[in-house]
């Protein structure tokens, strides 16, 4: 295995080990085939396009006070569903936390969590972009090895 391929493997493994991605990502990898050779990347791209818009909506909603927790919860519910599509584990955790704060009517908590969520969202994006780029360079390698 050449250096690049090894690198890709490591990058991928660390995404799992560090809790950025979960099982769903592997499901996506398994779906990738000759008909859709870049399936995973396409899905990730689609997710980021969609989720960025959602984040903006939530941000605007958070600026309106008093907070409409029901609405916020609804948005976040949707965002969580969307994040589950690529297996964005940390992002999902923040979503869950946000929803808890909504249920408790804790506006402060919501805002804080939202900031954390945006950070996780951005971090994952960078990691994935780097990963996909490297993967393209390295050429096709075996994927879908389930993390321990």
């Amino acid at each position: 295995m050449d250096k690049n391929q090894r690198q890709v493997r490591l990058m991928r493994q660390s995404l799992f080990d560090q809790g950025f991605l979960d099982e769903q990502f592997i499901q996506l990898e398994e779906l990738q085939d000759d008909a859709n050779p870049n399936f995973v990347e396409e899905i990730a791209t689609s997710y980021y396009q969609d989720s960025s818009r959602s984040l903006q909506t939530i941000e605007l909603a958070l600026e309106k006070t008093p907070h409409d927790f029901n609405k916020l919860d609804g948005y976040m519910h949707q965002f969580k569903g969307s994040s589950s599509s690529i297996g964005a584990k940390k992002v999902k955790a923040e979503c869950q936390q946000f929803r808890e704060y909504c249920k408790a009517g804790n506006g402060e908590g919501c805002m804080r969590t939202f900031q954390a969520l945006k950070r996780e969202h951005a971090t994952l994006k960078k990691r994935l972009e780097a990963y996909f780029q490297m993967a393209r360079q390295a050429g096709p390698i075996e994927t879908a090895c389930r993390p321990k």
């Binding site: 099982e23 769903q24 499901q27 996506l28 398994e30 779906l31 085939d33 859709n36 399936f39 396409e42 899905i43 689609s46 997710y47 969609d50 609804g74 519910h77 949707q78 969580k80 569903g81 969307s82 589950s84 599509s85 690529i86 297996g87």
Partner: protein, 616 residues
């Protein structure tokens, strides 16, 4: 499968299954499309519920199954579910990232065959074809049962396994687990077995089931075994295997009843669940449309057909209260999504949903939203039986509620002139039985006195149960194993009854309102009467005409498939209602005949069971 399963894709089934996926999240839509394609299904995607409905309407026969997200911007997923169930009668699987029990329950109630949790795995999608399959089987069964009477051997596809799966799925639906059980159960199943096997399915008719139960009682429930039962039953064509599987179902049913019983006893009495009258009302509107069903397909999962149990449409406040009590009942278990997945529920629920078989003549009628507690109820409800002549919507909810009914009914008027409990036919709003008042009071269900031989009152809950007993015994004497004999004498006993309407209207207060409010709904509301028998009769009566020919009608009803179907369906359903096993003894075998649906309050435990277990 038999040649009756004549899909052009028959040979390669489930490959080529036409799936319509509806999800507002574009990322998920892409993923699901890819997953389904990998299962060799034919996929159509849709981002909006309205678009989906349009697609479905344009090509009525263009899809086999619908998979839809619960949260969508333009239309609530549950609404879509109802529409699909009603208009197209396709199995619908719900999806959501939210696996909360109440949501799943709602899904099932609205008739989802299954309820999947996001993120969705490939293997969950691989199995969705079972819902389609199940539905087809039921449809075939319905059609065939129309053609022949008792003893028909329908095609039996190696689906005893499906039955079980069905069972599971309904239950699973209740729980919020991801259908692990179902998955594991079906994962390795070679579906080609089912499609190619041509074993005939045993149809557990009322008589047959009655014999079964009689045999079980004779032997003693503790010592019962398939061989012993088989010997006692003395039915030449029945195999030990048939009995064994039927017994298993019966046992499950009983245990469920026990559970319900426990819950019941701790149940305060006014329970109320999410379902309050408003739900019912909502449902009512849907109901008229018929069939709700859905699949249960799900395996059991709830395809749950849209069964909206319209327990009571009535809106009268009082009724609502009652209904609440009944409906809300102990719902101990969150039913999981029906097989389909409704989160779990797989079996029972789905099966229930699946029941939505539409009978040849009328389309579903029964649909009730049953709060989880009563699995059976839901299943029954789902069954949408369309009675041959009448589209009677039997509110099974009424039936189910042996327990709740007691609570609520007590309040309800028993004082009233014992209106007939079940209102089967439209327009029968007047209470029929002036006579046996006492009987009514005691019985919650009050089915027409003559009809219900059983005191509907649940064991401990009902007040005045003692009153009913005498009448009960009186009736029991008359009741033989056949419905007809019991009915006739009783009918004459109740005066005015025969004259009044064709159907027995069992009606709790609710029914009145209901009858007026919903013409189709016949049985709504009243179903609460626990006396399934009466309810059952009512149903039948409703659909047929005068009592005089009750016997015939019963027979006809039974076998017309509507009823039959129902029963079958019900059987799969969990029997939630029977609370007291001890009461069983009171209920003579004849009850079984009559009661397909029933969910008698107490005594009928067994009768209910019997009914429920029709499917082999």
């Amino acid at each position: 499968m038999d040649s009756s399963f004549s899909s052009p894709r028959n040979d390669s089934f489930p490959a080529g299954l036409r799936v319509l996926v509806v999800d507002d999240d574009p990322t998920w839509l892409k993923i699901l499309e890819k997953m389904l394609k990998k299962c060799s299904y034919e996929v159509t995607t849709c981002g909006l519920a309205r678009d989906a409905l349009n697609l479905l309407r344009e090509k009525k026969d263009g899809y086999d199954i619908v998979v839809s997200d619960v949260n969508m911007p333009d239309m609530d997923g549950f609404k879509l579910l109802e529409h699909v169930g009603l208009e197209m009668d396709l199995p619908v699987i719900m999806m959501s990232v939210d696996g909360e029990t109440s949501r799943v329950m709602k899904g099932v109630q609205h008739g989802a065959c299954d309820y999947l949790l996001k993120p969705i795995r490939m293997k969950e999608l691989r199995n969705i074809w079972q819902h389609v399959f199940r539905k087809k089987i039921h449809e075939i069964r319905d059609i065939e049962s129309h053609e022949s009477i008792e003893g028909i051997q329908l095609i039996r596809n190696g689906s005893d396994q499906y039955d079980e799966g069905y069972f599971f799925s309904a239950e699973d639906l209740a729980s919020s687990r991801k259908r692990k059980d179902v998955d594991s159960k079906y994962d390795d199943k070679d579906f080609s077995d089912c499609s190619s096997t041509k074993k005939a399915r045993v149809v557990w008719s009322v008589d047959l089931h009655q014999k079964f139960v009689k045999a079980v009682h004779q032997i003693g429930f503790d010592k019962v075994g398939p061989k012993k039962i088989l010997d006692l039953m003395n039915v030449p064509w029945l195999t030990r295997e048939n009995v064994a599987s039927h017994l298993q179902k019966y046992r499950l049913y009983l245990s469920r009843l026990q559970k319900e019983n426990d819950i019941k006893s701790s149940f305060g009495g006014t329970k109320h669940s999410d379902y309050s009258s408003k739900d019912l009302q909502g449902i009512l509107s849907v109901q008229n449309s018929i069939n709700i069903q859905q699949n249960d397909v799900a395996h059991g999962s709830y395809r749950f057909s849209g069964n909206n149990l319209v327990a009571q449409n009535a809106d009268p406040k009082s009724n609502e209260g009652d209904i609440k009590g009944i409906v809300s009942e102990p719902v101990a278990e969150p039913k999981k999504g029906t097989t389909g997945n409704i989160p779990d529920s797989q079996k029972t629920r789905s099966s229930q949903m699946d029941f939505n078989s539409s009978y040849a003549e009328t389309k579903k009628g029964l649909v009730g939203n049953v709060p989880d507690s009563q699995k059976i109820r839901s299943s029954q409800m789902r069954v949408n039986h369309s009675f041959a002549s009448v589209e009677s919507e039997v509110n099974l909810t009424a039936f189910d509620s042996t327990i709740p009914a007691t609570y609520s009914w007590n309040q309800i008027q028993l004082e009233k002139e014992h209106k007939p409990l079940i209102q089967l036919n439209n327009g029968f709003s007047k209470p029929l039985l002036p006579g046996p008042q006492h009987h009514f009071q005691a019985d919650q269900l009050q089915s027409i006195p003559s009809i219900s031989s059983r005191p509907s009152i649940p064991g401990g809950d009902v007040t005045g149960s003692s009153k009913s007993k005498p009448s009960y015994s009186e009736y029991t004497n008359h009741h033989g194993s056949r419905v007809s004999p019991t009915i006739s004498p009783t009918i004459s006993a109740t005066d005015s009854f025969p004259g009044q309407t064709k159907s027995c209207v069992v009606d709790h207060q609710v029914s009145e309102t209901i009858s007026t409010s919903t013409s189709n709904m016949k049985n709504q509301g009243i179903n609460l009467s626990t006396d399934l028998e009466s309810a059952h009769r009512n149903l039948i009566l409703g659909s047929t005409s005068p009592f005089a020919s009750l016997d015939d009608e019963f027979q006809i009803c039974w076998y017309q498939g509507d009823c039959y179907g129902m029963n079958l369906e019900l059987q799969n359903v969990e029997f939630s209602e029977y609370t007291d096993p001890t009461h069983v003894t009171e209920v003579p075998a004849h009850l079984y005949d009559a009661l397909r649906f029933e969910y008698p309050c107490d005594p009928s435990e067994y009768s209910v069971l019997d009914q429920g277990l029709f499917i082999a």
